[in-house]
Amino acid sequence: MTQIAAVGSKPDAQEARYEHPSRLKLTWRYLRRNKSLVLGLAIVVALTLFTVIGSLTIDTEKRAYPLAVKPRQPPSAEYPLGTDFFGRDLLAVMVRGVWQTAVIGLIAGAIGTGVGVILGFLSAYYGGIVDTAIRAITEVLLPIPAFLILVIIAGSIDRKSVTIYTMALIVSLLAWMGPTRIMRAQVLTLKERLFVNVARLSGMSNLEIIFKEILPNMLPFILASFVSGVFAGIFGSFGLSVLGLGPLREPLIGNTIWFAQQQAAFFNGWWWWPLWPSLALVLIFVSLTLINVGLDELANPRVRRTE
């Protein structure tokens, strides 16, 4: 009896030794391998901390707008990043600008991806006329550079009434074609898989299949498309605002660069004025790209082997 018990207990002991590491541990191990994801997330966290701590400690409501502080001061102990021609504290401007830029990016990314997912599903899952129409529209709109249409839209709106939110809406107007195409292709391959057929045979409704079977498998792609959408949204709003089409009253990062260019900051020796916003945008763009490369590796393990 004892022997049998011992034999019976053996697998147990083995299993205890090969115990699965916790989810946290696995995530940690994975992150150590996926360096670009970690680096990108680290930059995003650092920027978030900068703007959150900054807006808690500095009166950005006042100091980020004109005539708040002494104008044209180089960086010093009192003004760590200096002040601009209009008497704005550039530290406060950056705190607020990074926040507003992030808001525009997040709204544009969410709208673009959301519309893309819906249209992609409609197009791929139901097919027929809906599919043909959606495909034709995306095919014709895709080669037209969205940015140029944005220039027209932003140029037709009264610039004094443009806010951060209208800016985000303008930028997201033409951000859905790319996601629609990607989502459509994904749904088309997923809906032919065996597990979807099994689900259909077992009597699941269309909506159940979409939400319980297909959507969870598309999460990595949706996430990647969201990050690309945030990137495109920030890029679009940046391009518009450096052309002078942004919400001019707000200390958006692109606006700050535009104002510095209009006042010929470099010619006048106020190098700090355009420098900080440029560096902040470089950090934002690089971090988003790193995250996207990392997500690509996460979603598509085949990329790993080629490294």
Binding site: E139, V140, L141, P143, I144, P145, F147, L148, I149, V151, I152, I153, G155, S156, I157, D158, F235, F238, G239, V242, L243, G244, L245, I257, Q261, F266, F267, W271, P274, L275, S278, L279, L281, V282, F285, V286, L288, T289, L290, V293, T306
Partner: protein, 334 residues
């Protein structure tokens, strides 16, 4: 069935052009703004000149520009104007038409963008191919990470940082403008050298920003080709590695990159426009920035439409050239 393909491409081109022109026509008319009224308000602000019969003048201008006609009629006129290359008059430099302004700015843009795209395409593809080539030295592979970072940054920002470090700090090159003040544009050697010196920084920022795109794409292609039988066979035949690299490796990996070129035209032109505006160059970008500053709407709309049309036509041309480069593709239906 080559003809069928050609017809399909032409129909697609027409659809893109028509949709773009329609968007450019209707969006401004949906808004409440009146460019002519705003123009007069601006003159009144800056010069103090405010004519008493302003309403009549505005009405007269609207008749002159055909803005009082029914919308459908305006649309038809606008479309036929676009087909004839007539993009309307400029508001701020009135006797001049938008097309005249674009044509005088175009040579600057074409020279800058074609040269930088060519350099970036050749250099980027070479670097990418070398990075995936097993025999190449390690430092080329190390270049890929910085190139990927650079590719993430818009050319405009790179340009701004280059102005700061190279023009402002080191004072090596001019900060902006197309030529030094005091020099009159002419076809003398002195002027050309001076203008070229002013183009160096814009060119470098455009090249640096796009180099990574080509290098990464090429490296990806190279990696998939590496294990192909014909490369192995060439190696076992004892061909010189350089021959294998140029004839067997790069040539095959390059084809998808040419398609990439067609897709890249849009972003190349957009970043070119922004960089020109940054450096105050007299190309399309400078013209656009100027028009936005002066609220010259017809010029804004005209440039935008012109750029969209050029991109559509360039993509169409690359599609037609592609079968000449790749003998496997004939666009024939099976």
């Amino acid at each position: 069935m080559r003809l069928g393909y050609l017809i399909r491409r032409i129909l697609f081109l027409i659809a893109v052009v028509w949709v773009a022109a329609t968007i450019v026509f209707f969006i401004p008319r949906l808004s409440e703004r009146n460019p002519i009224r705003e123009r007069f308000a601006e003159i009144a602000r800056s010069t103090g000149f405010a004519p008493k019969d302003l309403e009549q003048i505005i009405a007269a201008y609207e008749v002159k520009f055909g803005l009082n006609k029914p919308l459908l009629e305006q649309y038809v006129e606008y479309m036929s104007g676009v087909l004839r290359g007539d993009l309307g008059p400029s508001l701020t430099r009135f006797p001049k038409t938008v097309m005249e302004l674009i044509l005088s700015a175009l040579p600057w843009t074409i020279v800058l963008l074609s040269l930088t795209t060519l350099i970036s395409f050749v250099l980027g593809n070479l670097l990418g191919a070398l990075a995936s080539w097993p025999r190449s030295p390690g430092f080329v592979k190390g270049l890929m990470a910085p190139l990927m970072m650079l590719q993430a940054v818009p050319a405009y920002l790179l340009g701004l940082l280059l102005i700061f470090f190279i023009a402002f700090r080191l004072k090596l090159l001019p900060m902006g403008g197309a030529y030094s003040q005091g020099i009159t544009p002419s076809l003398t050697l002195e002027f050309i050298l001076d203008a070229a010196r002013h183009q160096i920084l814009p060119a470098i920022s455009l090249i640096l920003a796009s180099l990574g795109f080509w290098a990464l794409g090429m490296r990806g292609m190279g990696i998939t080709i590496q294990g192909e039988d014909y490369v192995n066979f060439a190696e076992h035949k004892g061909l010189h590695p350089r021959t294998i690299f140029s004839q067997y490796y790069v040539r095959n990996a390059l084809l998808p990159q040419v398609t990439g070129l067609a897709l890249a035209f849009g972003s190349v032109i957009v970043s070119g426009v922004l960089v020109e505006q940054l450096y105050g160059l007299p190309g399309l970008g400078g013209l656009l920035g100027d028009a936005i500053l002066k609220n010259d709407y017809f010029v804004i709309y005209g440039i935008t439409l012109f750029v969209i049309l050029s991109i559509a036509i360039l993509m169409f041309l690359v599609d037609l050239i592609y079968p000449l480069l790749d003998p496997r593709i004939r666009y024939e239906s099976r």
